[in-house]
């Protein structure tokens, strides 16, 4: 307003002209500025910088020397390794045992089944990362509810009962239909159900009947798959042969998938106003949280059979899974409860005041907000679970840790302890780091536009 001199009776005001911005001094910005600020701020920090840099360089040089330049990659036995290069790593043993680390004692000629299970899982969850796709909830539900049966049969094999017959072919059916849905959606812009409703002329009927064409299609495709693959049978591979990274991922995967719904249920139960439910939830959570996982595992393997009918034999792996799942759910419950408590009371009141029922309020208003807040803790929990599964090696399952330790007891590779553990650490690091990075990405994408918090 300083330039405005239209008012009568006033002299021309002084004209304000902003100064040009100059660039900042070289020593305070960019690489040089950063170095000065963080590494060479005073003579003391300069000394610390130099010492730490020297230490890091020496350490890295030693590791590089041990792990790469002096390492042996091809040898018949540990003796040969030592003869070739006594101070280097003997990666030859790791390479020789790689199959064992990955699959345990699973028969070589059947290992394709594990790989196929992995590929199918990827095919199942791939649509999640496709942009703008509708019906992701259905795909997710089928992945959690039906895929495990298909995977279980692939891994285990043997006779299929009526139930497993139903589920395995249902899984194949749904996988096919999921992808039909994806392709149709990108071609027509409508979901599979909507397309079916149009084609069958159900669009003029009430909306509650719109699910029938879809159900009919599932039944027809299931029939076709059954006719095609009905006689298909895989050789039985008992679970005591399962092992390695495969077993680790199976146990951790089952625990992770069941932990979240279990945790949500327990957390809601703990906040319930119904005393019986609340007391049960508190007892369960506090019991499992106060007991070490290894105790839970021993209980699951040795005590649980005592409570079951005599001729009812549970598989050791199943017992372990039940134990890990209960343990994981108890921990997850407290994470979820923490997230629920972070939601202001006004959100509950606003949802209730609109007439939403308890479950709709939870599913539509409270949990979507709470879960977003919980992502870092949830993923932290998952990483803990993945690493905790190494404890099953103590009760005699050949998970990855047990296979890594077994190398050094093998006559050919006797005494080879360091390298397998380094290798195992690297595998766990890659898995956990990937989870951590993915959770950070998830936090950003879910938080988009949600700037109010």
């Amino acid at each position: 307003m300083a330039t405005d001199n239209t008012q009568p009776g006033q002299d021309a005001a002084i004209v304000f002209e902003p100064k040009q911005s100059r660039s900042a001094p070289v020593a305070s910005v960019g690489v040089i500025g950063w170095l000065r600020e963080n590494l060479f701020y005073s003579w003391f920090s300069t000394i610390v910088t130099v010492v730490v840099a020297w230490g890091m360089f020496e350490g890295a040089a030693y590791l590089y020397d041990w792990g790469v330049t002096k390492a042996v990659f091809e040898a018949e036995s540990r003796r040969q390794c030592l003869n070739t290069s006594p101070d280097g790593a003997c990666w030859a043993g790791i390479i020789d045992w790689m199959n064992g680390f990955m699959y345990g004692r699973y028969p070589d000629e059947e290992q394709w089944r594990i790989n196929l299970g992995g590929v199918l899982l990827i095919a199942w969850v791939l649509p999640f990362w496709l942009p703008n796709l509708k019906g992701k909830i259905g795909i997710g539900m089928s992945a959690v509810m039906v895929y495990p049966f298909l995977a279980a049969y692939l891994f285990l094999g043997g006779e299929r009962g009526v139930f497993l017959n139903l589920m395995v072919f249902l899984a194949i059916t749904l996988l096919v239909l999921n992808w039909v849905h994806v392709v149709l959606f990108y071609l027509t812009g409508r979901t599979l159900t909507e397309n079916l409703v149009r084609m069958t002329g159900f669009e003029h009927r009430p909306e509650t009947t719109h699910k029938y064409p879809m159900l009919a299609l599932v039944a027809v495709v299931w029939g076709c798959v059954y006719a095609w693959l009905g006689d298909w049978q895989l050789e039985l591979v008992r679970t005591n042969l399962w092992g390695g990274l495969f077993l680790t991922i199976v146990i951790a995967g089952v625990a992770i998938v069941s932990a979240l719904p279990g945790g949500v249920a327990l957390a809601l139960a703990r906040r319930s106003t119904m005393p019986v439910i609340r007391v049960f939830a508190i007892t369960f959570i506090e019991l499992f949280r106060s007991v070490p996982l290894i105790t839970v595992l021993f209980m699951a393997v040795t005590m649980m059979p005592l409570f079951l009918p005599e001729d009812f034999q549970l598989n050791k792996l199943v017992q372990v899974m039940i134990g890990v799942c209960l343990f994981a759910a108890a921990y997850m419950a407290e994470v979820v409860r923490g997230g629920l408590q972070a939601i202001p009371n006004g959100q509950y009141e606003a949802a209730k005041a609109m007439g939403l029922s308890y479950w709709k309020m939870m599913n539509l208003v409270i949990l979507p907000q709470a879960l977003k807040l919980m992502i870092p803790n949830i993923v932290g929990n998952f990483m803990g679970l993945l690493k905790d599964t190494t404890l099953v090696s103590i009760i005699g399952l050949y998970d990855m840790l047990n296979m890594l330790k077994a190398v050094g007891q093998n006559p050919i590779w006797i005494g080879l302890h360091k390298e397998p553990l380094v290798f195992g650490a690297a595998i766990y690091f890659v898995l956990c780091f990937a989870m951590s990075k993915y959770s950070q990405r998830l936090e950003r994408t879910i938080g988009q536009g949600n700037t109010g918090r």
Binding site: P344, A350, K352, A353, G355, Q369
Partner: protein, 265 residues
Amino acid sequence: MSATDTVPMAPEGQIASAITDEEVIRLINVNKWYGEFHVLKDVNLSVRRGERIVICGPSGSGKSTLIRCINRLEQHQEGEIIVNGTTLDSNVKNIEAIRSDVGMVFQSFNLFPHLTVLENCTLAPMWVRKRPLDEAADVAMKYLERVRIPEQAHKYPGQLSGGQQQRVAIARSLCMNPNIMLFDEPTSALDPEMISEVLDVMVELAASGMTMLVVTHEMAFARKVADRVIFMDQGEIVEENAPDEFFANPRVDRSRLFLSQILAH
């Protein structure tokens, strides 16, 4: 009076009343305690369709608790509350039905921060009234236009000012097509320059014949739209009076003191 005179005054005087004989809310000897604290004492109240009631009183007098009992966000221990002909008891289905017909606007807006403005407005119509998405969205846009922020429909609540958020909250309640609206200090959390935009909307709503119970300290608003002013203190209804009478010539000494305190500066 100038401090509370924030309603931009269109023609002076009352908005035409649309009261009918039909009784929509009735409270009979309602008592409520928070622990040992007796917060509502023998409250009796009858509200007819189309009536606009302003409830005022010092803080802690139980006025918010009273209107929160009407949609059972708070539970009363003694007495009877009848809303739209249904008695409030522990029957969850009845409570949900009543809540869907009774809109409520809060002091702190309580919009859902993870949903856009439009999604905030369509959520309850879709999930409680089972309206299809496009129909719910049409209705929502109609009410967002009525509160004069249709252009913000695709923003998130966190991107709006307080006054805009409160207007969205009003639109969100109206989308359920309620026959009663409860306002719990709707302007108390707002900056002074945003109060009038919210009160404007509420005045319009009053003019449309909506049954309204408003807890507020905006006395100019009360004077303009209220059919009845209720003054509460210490859990009791101290005075019930027509607004002109209440402001010019309060019957009870306690209301006189209250008015002199809030209108003094």
